[in-house]
């Protein structure tokens, strides 16, 4: 089964541990991830260090995004009014199916069978390319990395550099199988980029329709802002007569000043550049310059679910810089595919279950060491470890299997009273006897075997402190044992 097939199969829970184990066995992948993430980390660190007021800027950005999310409906209404006044047409899509159907409808209205796309997470999220293919429309990815991934029949493994899991040799092989068939292409990145330039230029020049996402939407002017380096985005947004932007509702900010603030943080946090090569501010339709028809699709697709969680909603501040991925000890080793979502890494671990349900993604909040490196680099101050803990609690409440709940229920009951706790210790001492090897319990019998796979347990002490205390001082003194010696306060608290 290809990665793509595996990752779009919805309906059964995603098994992060199994996927991570598989990824860790791929030495090429680990080498590619290690090299790439180390390089981006260093670039980001240098670019952020250049801002003397980074802490102040990110506090401003945090407040700005929270304010916009707190009055989202009002800000969205303002955006829609301004965009409409500027000549754009604004549409609302509640879910992926609605958004895809809408874009396919626009293509059909204009008789378009091939369109060009700028790199966009929102359109990846809704699997727009596959939906368009079903409708007989060929969506050509024009960002080099997205093109590589598309030609390979794969999916992105990083928010910003989707083909980060491939080496130059692997990319050469993909091109030789597809757009450079029968040609003797080397693995020189310059030559590979030139192959894509020639392949895509033809498609840009004849394209009847362009599709983009949006990095930021500005309410006061109805502007959609997109950032890129290659120039493919400018091709997509200026050459075709019809343009569609699919933008998550959480991307809207009130003013152009707010955009200016985010532009100071985003490229530095993302690629470590002071500014991306091209930042386009698309406002409605301009006669004689760019598309004649501009549609903006405001995408919900689970965002309002996330907004309803008072702790988890801060994940919607995310501006998709991917700084948290590059510093994460888990992501940098397992890569993006193990997360089973277009949003991998720390931000993906908190965003994915909130957007698309805990049922399928309950294991993601556990895919972290809680080291906190992600929160340290986040340019909009998302407390990712805090949200991870919150979602872990939710996962246990909502998703823990009955036996696990029973075990923890029994543990809570036993820990609830000193008498029961002492009895449990005595029982444990007897039960563990056949399992102790060299002073440690190394394997537990089923159904607890999985738990001891990665951990050794210390056996229960031969004599606990409380037992020693009553032996030395007699049981009548037990009540005067110092606090903190194992006496829980409040006997029957749950």
């Amino acid at each position: 089964m290809s990665r793509r097939q595996r990752r779009v199969s919805r309906g059964r829970p995603h098994d992060f541990p199994a996927a991570a184990r598989e990824a860790l066995e791929d030495e090429q992948l680990r080498a590619n991830m290690h090299r790439a993430t180390r390089t981006i980390r260093a670039r980001r660190a240098a670019a952020v260090a250049e801002l003397p007021d980074f802490e102040e800027l990110r506090e401003q950005a945090r407040r700005l995004k929270d304010d916009a999310l707190d009055r989202l409906d009002e800000v969205l209404a303002q955006f829609e009014a301004a965009a409409t006044a500027a000549g754009a047409q604004v549409h609302h899509a509640a879910d992926a199916a609605a958004a895809c159907a809408f874009v396919a409808g626009i293509a059909a209205d204009h008789g378009v069978t091939e369109l060009v796309k700028m790199k966009s997470l929102a359109t990846d999220e809704i699997c727009l390319d596959a939906a368009l293919a079903e409708a007989g429309v060929d969506a050509v990815e024009t960002d080099l990395a997205e093109l590589i991934v598309q030609l390979a029949g794969d999916t992105a493994s990083h928010i910003l550099v989707p083909a980060v899991h491939y080496s130059r040799g692997q990319i050469r092989d993909i091109f030789r199988r597809t757009i450079a068939r029968g040609r003797d292409v080397s693995d020189d990145p310059n030559e590979l980029a030139e192959v894509s330039r020639l392949y895509l230029r033809e498609r840009f020049l004849r394209a009847g329709m362009g599709v983009t996402g949006g990095n930021v939407a500005v309410a006061e002017t109805g502007t959609v802002c997109v950032l890129e380096n290659e120039g493919n985005g400018r091709m997509v947004t200026t050459l075709p007569p019809v343009l569609v932007s699919v933008v998550g509702i959480e991307k809207v900010v009130p003013s152009l000043d707010d955009l200016g603030l985010l532009l100071r943080l985003l490229p530095r946090s993302a690629t470590g550049e002071r500014m991306s090569s091209y930042v386009s501010l698309l406002t409605g339709v301009t006669p004689g310059d760019g598309p004649r028809e501009y549609h903006i699709v405001l995408l919900d697709n689970g965002r309002r679910n996330a907004l309803a969680d008072p702790v988890g909603r801060q994940a919607l501040r995310c501006i998709r810089c991917s700084a948290c991925l590059n510093v994460c000890p888990v992501y940098t080793r397992v890569g993006g595919h193990a997360y089973g979502s277009i949003y991998p890494g720390p931000i993906g671990a908190i965003l994915t279950p909130q957007l698309w349900g805990m049922e399928e993604h309950a294991k993601l909040p556990f895919a972290s060491t809680l080291c906190g490196a992600c929160a340290e680099v986040c340019p909009v101050g998302i407390d990712i470890p805090g949200v991870l803990l919150h979602l872990r609690a939710r996962a246990v409440r909502e998703q823990a299997p009955a036996p696990e709940k029973a075990v923890f229920g029994a543990a809570a009951w036993a820990f609830g009273s000193p008498r029961r706790f002492a009895a449990a210790q005595r029982a444990g001492r007897a039960a563990e006897l056949p399992l102790v090897r060299g002073g440690l319990v190394r394997t537990l019998p089923p159904p607890l075997a999985g738990w001891s796979e990665g951990r050794d347990l210390r056996p229960v002490a031969r004599e606990t402190f409380r037992e020693w205390w009553s032996r030395e001082r007699g049981p009548q003194d037990a009540a005067s044992a110092p606090r903190g010696a194992g006496e829980p306060r409040g006997e029957e608290t749950p």
Binding site: R35, A36, I40, A86, G87, T142, L144, I148, V161, P162, A163, V164, S167, R168, I171, P189, L192, A193, S196, R197, L200, R201, F204, L205, E220, T221, T223, N229, E230, G231, N232, R234, M235, T237, T238, L239, L256, D257, L259, G260, L261, L263, R264, T271, E273, R274, M275, S276, S277, Y278, V279, S280, L281, L282, T283, G284, T286, G288, D289, G290
Partner: protein, 190 residues
């Protein structure tokens, strides 16, 4: 930077130097040109890069266009050229609406000298003339004039802060993917 007292920008050497430094760091070639020397410098750049067909916006000042008997460049005005016609140009020459020193950005906003967005995108060599008084120190200062351009004139805006580039293959930088491979800024006094 602050509103109120109008600054004498041409005297602000620090901003000017920062702008030039940031452009250079972003692989943009900067050439400082005396006021009357733009046309000659454009001719020189065209000769250096083998430019035969140079696209310009119809509103480009006449004194910036290469001219004279010894000039072999064919100057093509962009009267809504089709994408295929734009693709036959070797280079484009435009002005800009403003520039930002902090980020080393040229801001194109469809002004009469800025041209259409496609003109400064499709040809492989792009020359942009920036007047010293157009340079804002940072993004915070630049957003006010940009807001005016968008709100009052409905202009599309593009920040250009480097040549077209990709780092998608092992993070190895390659210049000239889809937009101009070479970006040359001619910096002229106000």
């Amino acid at each position: 930077m602050s509103a109120g007292v109008p600054e004498s920008r041409p005297a602000d050497r620090a901003v000017l130097d920062l702008f030039a430094e940031r452009l250079t760091a972003a692989h943009i070639e900067v050439r400082r040109v005396a006021g009357g020397g733009v046309a000659a410098e454009v001719s020189r750049v065209c000769a250096e890069h083998g430019v035969r067909r140079l696209g310009v916006p119809p509103g480009l000042p006449a004194c910036w266009r290469p001219g004279g008997a010894d000039v072999i460049v064919d100057v093509v005005e962009d009267h809504e050229l089709s994408p295929a016609e734009l693709d036959t140009l070797d280079a484009a020459l435009t002005g800009c609406s403003l520039a930002v020193a902090e980020t080393g950005s040229l801001v194109l906003a469809a002004g009469s000298a800025d041209g259409r967005r496609a003109l400064s995108l499709v040809p492989d060599v792009y020359l942009c003339v920036v007047r010293e008084d157009q340079i804002e120190p940072d993004l915070a200062a630049a957003m006010a004039p940009i807001a005016t351009l968008i709100k009052e004139n409905g202009r599309p805006v593009v920040f250009v802060s480097g040549p077209s580039a990709t780092s998608d293959i092992e993070l190895h930088r390659v210049e000239g993917v889809h937009g101009p491979r070479r970006l040359i800024v001619l910096l002229v006094p106000a």
